[in-house]
């Protein structure tokens, strides 16, 4: 880090005036994937040679791999040649002109979720121009971040503006050969976000509000890279409680986090992609590789996720605890209803001495849904006095859903302490009756019990999202009882 720190600072100071939104020519590729498609994609995005080489190398790796089938998921075969790997952003001419033209059901959901008024139009895909409220908000934020020296831009912009940072860090946490979906993403990723927090800087705001307003259209193969230099701190939130629809059924994102000495990244996700209808038709396949690398001593990475959407969720946000005394955390609520399937959890890889990790996982199943927790706690011989605490709780609603827990532990160091607690409970008839006897409607009683169950996770979310996440639980489980 130290050698090019000054270069980075200079870059930060100089180049950040470029905006977040990337303009790309309007074009949509025909379905199919080969080297030629990747070359066209890279050219279209104006990428430097190293980026194209990396994509091609990743593609070669992917071709030799097979889609994994170890997860407890029932997935229809995916035809990777039937997918278009680049689609132009929708023309504003096709978008609704005002909220009056938006599906009233969607607006009702926004209302229930408590989405601020000024964000609803943007989320509903209403074509808005420069007079819109959020533009001035965004400009104010941009100024603040710039003054702090924070780089926060789209991944495409970062490739152009900060190629040396991308070349240095990309794929160092999740290499292309890590897994099938990571390889695919590395070959064809469309866009995403890039964050660099310089040494000693505490990011002056949650990188959430800004993101929500600016990046509603994140795309199918998202790539995110966040680097927190020595002693820095950032809290980042991706996604949104509002239901998001996308014509692309397959999503394969990769997120890489890097913390240097004494740095902290708090990464919160609220995922609410279209889950399919009540019969299980449609819905997003969400295959995500998220990993954080605690490289420096006393660094910390904390994942908090609320997974409510998608037909299939396959993700295991993980921490590699390399630095001594580094800390990894994973707080998760995964709720599945109707025919949704989730196989999610985390990996905590303890390498450094005195490393600590905490895993709190809450799975809620309703309808005919299946919900699996899969977690690995691995303690290397070098991780003297490492500690892990894992708690996995499952809540079942009705008798046609399933909850599964697959904890793996590999402990190679006798001084380590690894604790695991797991419970499975049905939303009990007597709890519901107790609340109703006090005067609550059945629906309010279910909401209260579910939110109580999720409390340990929700309190890790940034305040405004904690409130929305509670509302999201209620909407997701609507009609699950009674």
């Amino acid at each position: 880090m130290s050698t090019n720190e000054t270069d980075i600072e200079a870059l930060v100071a100089k180049k950040y005036e470029h905006g977040f939104i990337t303009d790309i020519e309007s074009e949509t590729f025909e379905p199919g994937l080969d080297e030629n498609i990747i070359r066209r994609l890279s050219k279209l995005k104006g990428e430097p040679q190293f980026m194209l080489d990396w994509r091609l190398k990743s593609f070669a790796i992917w071709k030799k791999m097979r889609q994994p089938n170890w997860a407890k998921l029932n997935i229809e075969p995916i035809d990777y040649q039937a997918i278009s790997y680049y689609s132009a952003p929708k023309s504003p001419d096709d978008a609704p002109k005002s909220l009056d033209e938006v599906d009233p059901k969607l607006l009702e959901t926004y209302e229930k979720l408590g989405i601020p008024l000024h964000e609803r139009a943007k989320l509903a895909g209403v074509a808005v121009d420069a007079v819109f409220d959020s533009v001035s908000v965004a400009t104010t934020f941009k100024g603040k971040l710039h003054d702090a020296g924070v780089i926060f831009c789209s991944f495409s912009d970062a490739v152009k503006e900060h190629p040396e940072l991308i070349e240095q860090y990309l794929g160092t946490v999740v290499p292309p050969r890590d897994n099938y979906f990571a390889a695919l993403n590395s070959a064809v990723f469309s866009d995403g976000s890039f964050v660099y927090i310089p040494k000693g800087v505490r990011c002056p705001m949650e990188l959430s509000t800004y993101f929500r307003i600016n990046a509603a259209n994140t795309g199918q193969f998202e790539r995110t890279l966040i680097i927190a230099a020595e002693g820095s701190h950032v809290s980042y939130l991706e996604g949104c409680t509002a239901p998001q629809r996308d014509e692309n059924q397959l999503h394969a994102a990769v997120v890489e986090l890097i913390t240097e000495q004494d740095a902290t990244i708090k990464y919160s996700t609220v995922q609410n992609w279209y889950p399919g209808d009540e019969e299980g038709k449609g819905g997003i396949y969400n295959f995500v590789t998220k990993r954080g690398d605690c490289r420096g001593a006393r660094s910390k990475i904390s994942w908090t996720q609320v997974e409510a959407g998608s037909a299939v969720t396959w993700k295991y946000p993980s921490c590699v605890l390399r630095g001594e005394d580094s800390v990894g955390e994973f707080y998760s609520v995964a709720v599945t209803n109707n025919y949704q399937q989730a196989d999610t959890g985390t990996k905590m890889i303890h390498i450094g001495a005195n490393t600590r990790s905490t895993i709190i996982s809450k799975g809620i199943s309703a309808g005919k849904a299946q919900n699996a927790y899969r977690g690995l706690v691995k303690i290397f011989p070098t991780a003297k006095n490492a500690r892990n605490y894992t708690q996995c709780d499952s809540l079942l609603m009705g008798d046609q859903c399933g909850a599964h827990t697959f904890p793996y532990m590999e402990v190679k160091e006798p001084s380590a302490i690894v604790e695991h607690e797991a419970t499975t409970s049905k939303i009990a008839e007597d709890q519901l009756f107790y609340c109703r006897q006090r005067g609550l409607s059945e629906e309010d009683a279910v909401n209260m019990i579910v939110n109580g169950f999720c409390k340990d996770v929700f309190r890790e979310l940034p305040m405004e999202f904690a409130v929305e996440a509670q509302a999201l639980m209620n909407v997701s489980l609507e009609g699950a009882v009674g």
């Binding site: 009990a428 008839e429 007597d430 709890q431 009756f433 107790y434 609340c435 109703r436 006897q437 006090r438 005067g439 609550l440 409607s441 059945e442 309010d444 209260m448 019990i449 939110n451 109580g452 169950f453 999720c454 409390k455 340990d456």
Partner: protein, 251 residues
């Protein structure tokens, strides 16, 4: 007439538990129902509160002029019926006060009244907690989670104090309490006695009635009330036992 139960027959899983039970409670009265285990005491409480799983096969229950059996459990609660549970339920992660506030506001809403504001609510809650000699820390703990048996029962009467019911059915509120806790709970109930509030005490032992003096005592055996009287009946029961009374009723 606040509550009028007439010739109530009810069964669970095809087995008849209540076999023609009749009971009338007027406003302001305190009734005690005593009886041996398995006589149907708790079943009566559950049916009055609207617990699913019981089948009423004959008879009627009128409460404040309406057919109580037509109402959902929450409808009954909103109409002022409170059940103090024999086994209060734990709800992890749900704040004690939060549940109470939601409960109180559900009643306000049903009565067409505005929701209670946070400041007035906290004042009310603190006042009632003091009444029940409850530590403030109870308020912010999860509903009944990790509470001792005595704390759970005390919490029930505290909830009753906040919700101010018209009819409180207290199902074996004395079971599992030591004498000090029993005094606190009984005192809490006594302080809540009013001309427009009725109480139905369900108990196995006479001991509770030393502290909460009932207007009437009924003996329930084999799904029916076999004997009614004033508080002296409880003392007689204590001295002679259920068997003697049941034999007398049978003979």
């Amino acid at each position: 007439m606040l509550l009028e139960v007439k010739d109530l027959h009810a069964s669970i899983g095809g087995k008849e538990i209540l076999k023609g039970l009749s009971l009338t409670i007027k406003a302001g009265e305190v009734h005690a129902i005593m009886g041996p285990n398995g006589s149907g005491k708790s079943t009566l409480a559950q049916i009055l509160a609207g617990r699913e799983g019981y089948e009423v096969t004959a008879g009627s229950v009128r409460y404040n002029g309406v057919n109580l059996l037509d109402l959902e459990p929450e409808g009954r609660a909103q109409a002022g019926l409170f059940l103090g549970f024999q086994y209060p339920v734990e709800i992890p992660g749900v704040n004690n006060v939060y549940l109470l506030k939601a409960a109180l506001n559900a009643r306000q809403k049903a009565a067409g009244k505005p929701e209670i504001d946070a400041v007035s609510f906290m004042r009310l809650v603190k006042e009632k907690a003091a009444l029940m000699e409850m530590d403030q820390s109870f308020l912010s703990r999860s509903v009944n989670e990790g509470f001792s048996g005595g704390e759970k029962k005390r919490n029930e009467i505290f909830q009753m104090a906040v919700l101010e019911p018209t009819l409180a059915i207290l199902d074996e509120t004395d079971s599992g309490l030591d004498i000090d806790a029993l005094k606190v709970v009984a005192n809490g109930v006594n302080l809540q006695r009013r001309d427009d509030r009725s109480v139905l005490l369900i108990t196995h032992y006479q001991r509770l009635l030393d502290y909460i003096e009932p207007d009437y005592v009924h003996v329930l055996a084999n799904g029916k009330i076999i004997h009614s009287g004033d508080k002296s009946l409880a003392l007689q029961l204590e001295a002679e036992g259920y068997d003697a009374l049941m034999a007398k009723a049978a003979g």
